[in-house]
Amino acid sequence: MSVIQTPNGYTLDDSGQRVVVDPVTRIEGHMRAEVNINSDNMITNAVSSGTIWRGLEVILKGRDPRDAWAFVQRICGVCTGTHALTSVRAVEDALGINIPENANCIRNIMQLSLQVHDHLVHFYHLHALDWVNPVNALKADPKATSALQQQVSPHHPHSSPGYFRDVQNRLKKFVESGQLGPFKNGYWTNPAYLLPPEADLMAVTHYLEALDFQKEIMKTRTIFGGKDTHPNWTVGGVPCPINMDDTGAVGALNMVLLNQVHQIIKDTKTFVDNVYIPDILAIGQFYKGWLYGGGLSSQNVLAYGDIPDRANDYDLSRVHEVDLRDPEQIQEFVPHSWYKYPDGVKGLHPWDGITDPDFDVSSAKGSSHNIEQLDESASYSWIKAPRWRGHAMEVGPLARYIVGYAQGHEYFTEQIKMVLTNLDVPLEAIFSTLGRTAARALEAQWAADQQLYFFDKLMTNIKNGDSTTHSGEMWDPQDWPSEAKGVGFTEAPRGALAHWIRIKDTKIENYQCVVPTSQWRSCETFTVSTPVLPAPRM
């Protein structure tokens, strides 16, 4: 038994009962969580372990830097495209390539489609089953559900009692079949489910509506990137030419496809405004007591920024306090990871990062093929632990909204005020699971608006005679310096993401990714041995 203090002021106590959850579901990838709970059923210790390693950083060594995006895009198929975009930016940074304005607009529309899609799917299809009880929806009165729907979102067209009765009947048939599929073994009798049956039926209906609609959102990426999931990208711009007037380019962007993009974007905004936002407010009314689970959001949050208004606008000193090039700021540590560094304790800046696997579970309870309990005093995860100036940081939509609020960004501030007023909770309430869930919805709304902005910008450029989507500069490796290094970053749906690349003799010498979901958000706990600077506070 031991008690330790984390650098962020939490006390971890591994006495009491140990509970192991493996796999953690409704995430991308493979994760295990072990927690200790005390006699009051409160969690006193948490151990999160990434249970697979795929070795992409090793695979990239010696390859053509212009190919890297296609490999790293496969890091994540949920936040598909984000890693590819980060990668082409890293290579462009290393080689000093400027991309055309049209490429910037198209990349932004693709990335914003992902933001909306990811948040929508995250809420309805991954997260909602923690709040919404499909079994309880069977008890709902369709008329009352219809009244509720018309009250929370008067403009949503699907709101008749008959519509909800049909959904309920289908759900009833599904439950009576005894084959509950993905809903099997849910904790449906748990008193933590707080929605009345009518709200459950409305939410389950929107689970299905959102499942139908989400595929539309990503068609923008199929048009611009040829396919989705995992569209095509290219260093120097985007691989979709624009041809408004000439012959011979069947399949290039033309008026038909641009019209289609415009319609998808407008429909996306309508769905977010009429379904997602009203649901967050309606469901939030019942769960506004969920003001725990705030993580580090009231202490340390980190956002790199993304969606540049102008192409090639990455002046870090003007917008950001974070300097991704500073060897003292972003570092990765491996004291509890299944990797080894020559000096095991010191953190490494990603340009000097090392990925050298060193799997060892000899001190865990059980066997290597059936681990009963990990030993958190030893190595216990495939995740490297990133730190900013020695601090663990929360990243993601809530982090971005807190930074935006602190900066006085008007759009974010107005949205946050709207939620606080509607739910009648104080500002501090955003540092919570409730706040994080709301931030995703608000960001989806922002992203839908931004898509319209960049679509207009793209059309204005084309109207003014600019149809360039790719810069040919520095494409030929013969023009490259013998050595170069670069960093690319984006705001992935789950948070700040950056890739660092070193190029030597036209090949990748080193490639390191520091990623949000599996690193910033679920890394190991430890106390860094280097002096810790005062934590940034909002």
Partner: protein, 208 residues
């Protein structure tokens, strides 16, 4: 799938009256793009597959329960060939489905792609449920109906390439710039080249 209208009733019958076949979706060394592609299926819709066609009893990505303790269909490049993590030097020793010990003579249908096209995945399911047999497979174990053409055969740039226009960045034709850039990089793009050549326009809409 090119079925005659007479089959519509048969499909509807298969969907509505039989107990749904239990499906366990095991996620190996993957990035979940297969699941993301699956939920983008337009015909049939993903919700109809889950609610009416199969019983998806185990899937890390969407199932409500956590910490829970089988014809085999393998979806995606990962399951077929080992996908991106099997690229040299394959540091994790990633292994495709047919080389997993103990698989034996279990019939395997390979549906490769990174990710596989959503409608190809759902069509394989629909085919099995409707005809109560496995689709004809090519020598690599892939359904013949989807994997008989290379993606290059459908590329609208192919005539340009065959005409000798392939040098990037020289032509003023906007059509060449960009996609050619993606095309000439080589290795990585081969990942896409090996996939089913069924038209991507299924996801794009109804333009073609």
């Amino acid at each position: 799938m090119g079925l005659s209208p007479a089959y519509a009733a048969k499909i509807a019958d298969a969907m509505e009256t039989k107990p749904r076949i239990p499906v366990l979706w095991l996620h190996g060394l993957e990035c979940t793009c297969c699941s993301e592609s699956f939920i983008r299926s337009a015909h049939p819709l993903a919700k109809d597959v889950i609610l009416s066609m199969i019983s998806l009893d185990y899937d890390d990505t969407i199932m409500a329960a956590a910490g829970d303790d089988t014809i085999m269909a393998a979806a995606g490049h990962q399951a077929e060939w080992g996908c991106v993590q099997a690229a040299a030097p394959n540091p994790t020793g990633a292994t495709p489905i047919h080389k997993v010990p103990g698989i034996g003579n279990t019939p395997i249908i390979k549906v490769p792609g990174c990710p596989p096209i959503s409608e190809v995945m759902t069509a394989v399911i629909t085919y099995i449920l409707t005809f109560e047999r496995l689709p004809s497979l090519d020598r690599q174990g892939r359904p013949k109906m989807f994997y008989s053409q290379r993606i290059h055969d459908k590329c609208y740039r192919r005539p340009h390439r065959l005409s000798g226009i392939h040098q990037f960045g020289i032509e003023s034709n906007a059509d060449e710039v960009g996609m050619t850039a993606a095309g000439i990089v080589g290795g990585a793009v081969a990942v896409h080249a090996a996939v089913s050549a069924i038209k991507r326009t299924q996801q794009k809409g109804d333009q073609e």
